[in-house]
């Protein structure tokens, strides 16, 4: 059915909030928080879209999804078509619908947002992907172009590589993904918790790629098990894409950080997600959180995921401690709301000075100092400045450090590759080619910790560049 509501009336429909598990219930389980739109809610929300000709929302999307078009198909009731519009630009809609910071991207540009609330584009994307998952899985793969005879190796299996693999295989190249861990998906499986992104969704996407003919090899660390040179010289790969991510956790560097009870968010999340400590009967040990007071340092998605994981493990009180103010919090907006509903407490403008020993080497508390915001730094963010004499103490049982990651160190010694001082890989801005011929890179390994969609976008751009590079290889030199 077409949308024949006049624009005025469309603007009067209030934004629909996706149904979610009750906050008090969901902190007792690891099931997904959001329950998804019903068909009725989805259609009503889709009716709000004004179908702007210039589609500012699309401009705000890093991969320029044709947003008004897919929303229109929802209104029309052709979900498969809606999904296909999404899939043209975004290979992982079920994932992006869940984890993209829409308030910074598409939804920030929505015309409705100027006066009221923007269309819930993320929720509609999630709905479209979920509602068509079974149908899409049952569709025949379709014809791939004839094999080009070229082989490409992808290092890492995060969103950058998954997106790159999806495009390269559809261009007729043979694609192998090498992953160091025992599961595929990068941060999507070891970092982002089940309650935000169920692992079956990542598995689904990996299986789509498998069906297309992408080979997945786990337990291979490039740089150790096989080197880049061996891949290219001995194993006959014509090109390589590095999507190795930024996984090396930073620590605060304050006294007492070696006390027991303090660990990185990556360790907590890896134990809980990758090693499945959230399931009863899993063998990976986890500190007991039951009735404990926990502080998480940092305010990005990783910090919020850690805080909410701690709650679900039984913590009595969970504090987020951040040295800037609420406005600077880099986390997704929805996660902040959800965390507040769940009872996570936020202490802004405070930074740790030192962790306190209980006398037996275990954490007992932290000494904090109040901060105020000073002048904006180069990145435009106002940097925190300590307030003298404002020290105070907080009693703690456990602390999680979630202040960011730098790039994975295993490839740093690779001859021919150049890294920046921050440890990210040097690539040509448009070519995404590294300093080594035939080796391309994208995602967090190039940008430092960023977003799923930007990693995916980089993977797709790299696929184009790799394709061009491979075609040029076919031309006689001269």
């Amino acid at each position: 059915m077409p949308n024949d509501l006049p624009l005025k009336e469309r603007m009067q429909i209030a934004r629909h909030v996706m149904p979610a598990q009750d906050a008090q219930v969901r902190i007792t389980n690891f099931d997904e928080v959001n329950l998804g739109f019903t068909p009725e809610l989805a259609r009503e929300e889709a009716m709000r879209c004004l179908q702007c000709k210039d589609a500012p929302c699309s401009q705000g999307c890093p991969v320029h999804v044709h947003i008004p078009d897919f929303i229109n198909q929802i209104v029309e009731g052709d979900m498969l078509k809606a999904a296909d519009v999404l899939l043209q630009d975004n290979l992982l809609p079920a994932i992006c619908g869940r984890v993209c910071p829409q308030e910074k991207f598409c939804e920030s540009r929505c015309v409705l947002g100027k006066k009221g609330l923007p269309v819930a584009i993320g929720s509609l994307e999630r709905y479209t992907a979920d509602a068509t998952a079974n149908q899409r899985a049952a569709r025949p793969v379709g014809d791939l172009p004839p094999a080009t005879g070229r082989k490409v190796a992808l290092i890492g299996s995060g969103p950058a590589s998954l997106a790159c693999a999806g495009d390269l295989i559809r261009m007729g190249h043979a694609v192998t993904v090498f992953e160091a861990l025992h599961a595929f998906g990068g941060v999507l499986v070891y970092g982002i918790p089940e309650f935000r992104l169920p692992k079956r969704i990542v598995e689904y996407e990996v299986n789509v790629l498998r069906r297309l003919g992408v080979r997945f090899e786990k337990n291979v660390v490039i740089g150790m098990t096989l080197t880049l040179n061996e891949l290219m010289a001995d194993q006959g790969y014509d090109a390589v894409f590095i999507g190795a991510g930024a996984g090396l956790p930073h620590f605060l560097g304050v006294p007492g950080e070696e006390l027991i009870g303090i660990y990185s968010s990556n360790e907590l999340l890896t134990r809980v997600n990758l090693m499945k400590a959230y399931q009863s009967g899993a063998v990976t040990p986890i500190f007991s959180y039951q009735d404990k007071t926990v502080a998480v340092f940092g305010a990005g998605n990783t910090a919020l995921d850690s805080a909410r994981t701690a709650l679900r493990l039984g913590a009595k009180k969970v504090h987020i401690i951040y040295r800037r103010s609420e406005e600077e919090m880099p986390a997704r907006h929805e996660e902040v709301l959800h965390a507040k509903e769940e009872g996570v407490e936020f202490t802004f403008l405070a930074a740790p000075l030192e962790f306190i020993d209980n006398g037996q080497g275990w954490l007992k508390g932290v000494r904090l100092q109040r901060m105020q915001l000073g002048e904006p730094d180069q990145s435009g963010r106002r940097s925190p400045v300590p307030i003298e004499g404002s020290e105070f103490t907080m009693e703690l049982d456990l602390a999680v450090i979630a202040i960011g990651n730098s790039s994975n160190p295993l490839l740093r010694d690779t001859p021919g590759l150049q890294f920046t001082r921050r440890g990210t890989l040097e690539v040509g801005e448009n070519s995404l080619q590294t300093t080594k011929k035939g080796v391309f890179a994208g995602g967090d390994i190039v940008t430092g910790g960023a977003t799923v969609i930007s990693a995916m976008g980089a993977g797709r751009q790299a696929a184009q560049e790799i394709n061009r590079y491979l075609l040029e290889l076919n031309q006689p030199a001269g």
Partner: protein, 283 residues
Amino acid sequence: MFEIKTKTKIAPDIFRFEIYAPLIAKKFQAGQFIVLRPLESSERVPLTIMKANREAGTITLIVKAIGLSTRQLAELKEGDAVADLLGPLGKPSEIGKFGTVVVVGGGVGTAVAFAVAQTLKEAGNRIIIISGARDQSFVILEDDLREISDELIMATDDGSYGVKGFVTELLKDLYRKGEQIDRVIAAGPLPMMKLIADITREHGTPTIVSLNPIMVDGIGMCGGCRALVNGKIVFVCVDGPEFDAHQVDFDSLMRRNNAYRDIEQEKEHACKLDAQIEEMKRA
């Protein structure tokens, strides 16, 4: 398929495995380790590679079954495959011509230090090995050690085999006898390595220890394996596992390695209970 080619019990709860892993066998350098998961449901267990057979494509591991995952490994049979095997990981040992090198191994630490000792021997060093075990039944690898050493001191705590005494005392004896020691390599329980470091510090002997913290991923992503070396945080899995013994903060590492002890014991206990219940059901 990482198939177990051979499995031998060499002491109570200590097993020698040869596992098919051709890429790792080809790349292995002394001092490196692997991470394996015996079963799909197991933890990731770091284990040192004792040696590799490039032609056969196998690596040799010596494993002491001390907890759930190492026991799961010990229960696998020849012909079975481990679910996951990743490596080689860590930085290779520093090899050079140092002169006389004393290699001290306590328990399975003897296996951990084996490859380093062998490679240092091949590099022209004079190798004295002190290998300590609780009692005769725990003595391991004697033949292998004899082959790669110029002098081998097999010791047991109770004197039931070889020389009586702790490896630390035997090292002191060597100094007392006036042995010119140019380098010491130690692997074993942390308290042992700490004592060794204290002894060699007095003598000013450069000393390398192979650290064995609790690990999760083994590729630098969790920071669980961190240690303080020279006051700085290092990640043992990617920056080590070998470090200058005189710079390592052993106390914080020992606390960290014990941090999960109670929880692990509870888990094992629960698992044993489950197994008993299963058995009762079957009976």
